[in-house]
């Protein structure tokens, strides 16, 4: 059993609340889900969509087509039909005719008996869904918010109650609740960073990365960490570097435009050997582009960020669970090698939610890789590949952090020989990191004919595609740069198709530049919407 609900309505029309009540109710009754929120760049009005695919077994992606469509705003059924499965059920208040599908109507007048809030249809529809999905009348109890007055609470529960009764209630499910926590990509990144010892977080708001600071600022006191909104992205990244230089574990996040502004500091982190972690939650560019939609268009931006050449790391988590692990790894690598680490996430990950089980704590690290105290110390020991970090005040050593080509004690130099020495140290560090990273994960038959090459947030979709096809395997890269060492037998013998959310096929190009792999075909989506199983399957068929 796998069903999909679409909640469609204007920004500010209660969509988010409905999702908030529905997801835990599903979880309690033993449903797994994959929810994705696709909104417009505005605070009120417009047409937003929340897609919730749920099932009694775990899910890796959402379905684009819906079994249930809740139309909360002025959306016309005609438009919504594009996303409706055959036999889908519409929950609407319009008078519009719809002959092709079943419809449950919530007459405006009826709703207004309870409340004049524009979100009232959503609450009634929520009740109906509770009934139809076997979530039980008791789910109505879960509808509440601290910010509500007693009146609002009553009205809203009344609406749900009314909705509940509109449909025939199927027997309440008796499955055990799915254990785990409902998390989106941003929360998972934040928690992953906390697991790595995060102590300092500074950022400037920018969709779709803002969820990270929202989460962290809500827990700063509890965690005893420092969270700050900077005056701009340059300050955010520089204060993170300043904090790291003084001993704190720091991170920042932004989207592509802010990342551009941060890029100069990426090079500073490298030459000054001050650990830095930046999350770039990608959205479609160029420039302002589509602020609330998704893309994988910033790989070359990450590869090329800052002038010159140096050791850097680029990680791209494949799903929400990997967001947690990779954020932890990012802090670990940044501190171990004293390098900048860039995490490429995207709006698809940021605005998705799933139920995540507790992580495997043994896979998580929190180290500072400090030098021994008191020893004779070289801040920039040319022979050091990892570890050996010190910060001012750690002991009596005097620390000089510097952005030039420098001597081992940090004093600037213009020596050609030492310039070469430092450059070669970067190359050595890169090789060490390469060996520390994990090969792409393969999923599929042992002898595939075709391999789908993916990176970042498309992992779940690609696995689903593999499951629904034959002779196709998937090679998913979450460690991007330096490209990990991996067995290239499959790459050399199979038809290769890079699947990416961009129009240039950036990862395909990058792979070619690194290992000479030639893509035989590409499946590229660049309309601002996430890759979906249907989309990839359709394109595969047409190849």
């Amino acid at each position: 059993m796998k069903k999909t609900i679409h909640l469609i309505g204007p920004a500010g029309g209660g969509l988010n609340s409905i999702e908030e009540f529905l997801l835990p109710a599903l979880q309690r009754k033993g449903y797994f889900f994959y929810a994705y929120r696709n909104v417009m760049s505005r605070v009120r009005g417009g047409s937003n969509r929340v897609t919730i695919t749920f099932s009694s077994s775990p899910l890796r992606s959402f379905d684009e087509k819906a079994d249930y469509l809740v139309l909360m705003g002025k959306e016309r059924i005609e438009d919504a039909l594009m996303h409706a499965k055959e036999g889908a059920l519409f929950l609407v208040s319009t008078e519009e005719e719809c002959t092709t599908h079943s419809v449950i109507r919530f007459p405006k007048e009826k709703l207004q008996e309870f409340s004049r809030h524009p979100g009232s249809l959503g609450l009634a529809a929520l009740g109906t869904l509770f009934a139809m999905l076997g979530l039980g009348r008791s789910a109505i109890e879960s509808i509440q918010k601290d910010s509500w007055t007693e009146d609002t609470l009553l009205a809203n529960r009344g609406l749900a109650e009314y909705g509940f009764r509109l449909s025939e209630s199927i027997p309440e499910r008796a499955d055990a609740p799915v254990s785990g926590t409902i998390l989106g990509g941003n929360q998972a990144l934040a928690i992953g960073a906390l697991s790595g010892g995060l102590e300092y977080y500074s950022a400037y708001p920018m969709a779709p990365s803002t969820g990270i600071i929202s989460f962290l600022s809500a827990v700063e006191e509890k965690e005893g960490i420092f969270v700050d909104q900077a005056e701009d992205e340059i300050a955010a990244v520089m204060s993170s570097i300043g904090a790291a230089s003084a001993g704190a574990k720091a991170m920042t996040a932004t989207s592509g435009g802010g990342f551009a502004l941060m890029s100069e500091a990426v090079g500073l982190s490298a030459i000054a050997k001050i650990p830095l972690v930046i999350v770039n939650a990608q959205r479609p560019g160029p420039a302002t582009g589509l602020p609330t939609h998704t893309a994988q268009g910033d790989l070359y931006q990450a590869l090329g960020a800052a002038q010159g050449e140096f050791a850097r790391v680029i990680l791209a988590p494949g799903d929400i669970e990997e967001c947690l692990y990779e954020a932890n790894r990012a802090l670990d690598l940044a501190w171990k090698y004293q390098v900048p680490v860039i995490i490429l996430s995207d709006e698809h990950l940021s605005d998705s939610s799933v139920i995540m089980r507790p992580p495997d704590y043994r896979r998580l690290k929190n180290e500072r890789y400090l030098a021994e105290q008191g020893s004779d110390y070289k801040r920039y020991d040319y022979n050091r590949i990892s570890g050996g970090f010190k910060y001012p005040g750690y002991d009596e050593s005097i620390i000089l952090n510097d952005s030039h080509t420098h001597l081992e004690d940090g004093f600037y130099t213009e020596s050609p020989d030492l310039t070469v020495r430092i450059q070669e140290q970067f190359l050595q560090v890169l090789e060490a990191i390469r060996a520390d990273l994990e090969p792409p994960s393969y999923y599929g038959p042992p002898r595939p004919k075709t391999i789908l090459i993916g990176w970042g947030s498309s992992k779940g979709v690609l696995k689903d595609v593999v499951d629904q096809t034959e002779g196709i395997g998937m090679l998913h890269f979450r460690h991007i740069y330096p490209l990990p060492i991996f067995d290239q037998t499959l790459i050399k013998s199979c038809r290769l198709i890079n699947v990416e959310m961009n129009s240039f096929g950036q990862f395909g190009k990058y792979l070619r530049s690194e290992i000479g792999a030639e893509m035989d075909a590409s499946i590229l989506r660049y309309d601002g919407l996430p890759l979906s199983t249907t989309y990839v399957l359709e394109k595969l068929e047409k190849l």
């Binding site: 904090a243 720091a250 620390i399």
Partner: protein, 277 residues
């Protein structure tokens, strides 16, 4: 005995540069305050002034042009036990780094900010800085500067700075005292230091500064903000001394739950278990 903040390295500043006196005043002030090299962290941007962390025996950070302030902010929050000092040029602080100045000041973080105000871009060879006088001829502004110069003290005051002073590299003893007072101040201490640049600023020389600067009026009350504002807005005479000083909550006073260095608390990956219960 040698001042513990002295460091014997080759110095790349030009002979006669005002920076030498600022460096010396800092070293003297630090020593007089009983600080040890490991207690102090001096951060800078890029420029001639920005080279200072290389020339003083204490912890240092010579980062990116214009970006010393946010780095200092992060360092201060990470470890409030460190004495944080920013040294940077007028171009660095008010030009490239202007936005950080705007927002750094209004945080009232407990650091000392020293600006080497030579009214010119030294390292890049003589272009106008935000404090170069209107119509002054430079290596780049060949028909004269077209922008109204900023008045750093007025700006700092209007942003709510809690310690605002002006010094002159040529009056090293007064400068040392100002730096000491700045180190004592609890909150953000701002000192704009008039610094002759013999190589590229032929207008604002030692003699010119001596001529155009005067002490603050004997009866100046440094708690009088309005008075300070008006004195700081004067363009005819450059007053020297502490224009304004006020007690106020510092930034970290407002982050009540923090207490000491961020890295003090032991953390393990299992700390996140609470999010999975």
């Amino acid at each position: 005995m040698m001042n513990p903040f002295e460091k014997s390295v080759e110095n790349a500043w030009c002979p006669g540069c005002g920076n030498f006196f600022i460096l010396k005043a800092m070293q003297d002030a630090f020593e007089a305050e009983g600080l040890r090299p490991q207690d102090v962290y001096v951060l800078s941007g890029i420029g001639q002034a920005g080279k200072l962390p290389h020339y003083i025996n204490t912890n240092g950070f010579n980062g990116l042009h214009g970006r010393a302030f946010p780095a200092a902010f992060g360092a201060h929050v990470a470890n409030p036990n460190m004495k944080i000092v920013i040294n940077s040029g007028d171009g660095d602080s008010y030009g490239e780094g202007g936005n950080h100045f705007l927002h750094g000041v209004r945080r009232n973080i407990d650091i000392l900010h020293l600006i080497h105000d030579n009214q010119v871009y030294g390292l890049t060879k003589g272009q106008a800085s935000p404090t170069t006088a209107l119509e002054q001829i430079t290596t780049l502004q060949r028909t004269g500067v077209r922008n109204i110069p900023i008045r750093p003290l007025l700006l700092a005051l209007s942003l709510g700075a809690t310690f605002v002073a002006r010094g002159f590299a040529g009056y090293r003893e007064q400068l040392t005292e100002l730096i000491r007072a700045g180190l004592h101040h609890r909150g953000y201490a701002f000192i704009d230091i008039l610094q002759p640049c013999p190589s590229f600023n032929p207008v604002n020389t030692y003699a010119w500064y001596r001529e155009n600067s005067i002490p603050l009026p004997e009866d100046h009350d440094p708690t009088d903000w309005e008075k300070a504002l008006l004195l700081a807005s004067r363009e005819d005479k450059l007053h020297l001394g502490i224009f304004y000083q006020a007690e106020s909550l510092t930034f970290l006073d407002r982050v009540k739950y923090l207490d000491g260095p961020l890295f003090k608390k032991k953390r393990t990956p299992r700390d996140i278990e609470k999010y999975f219960r």
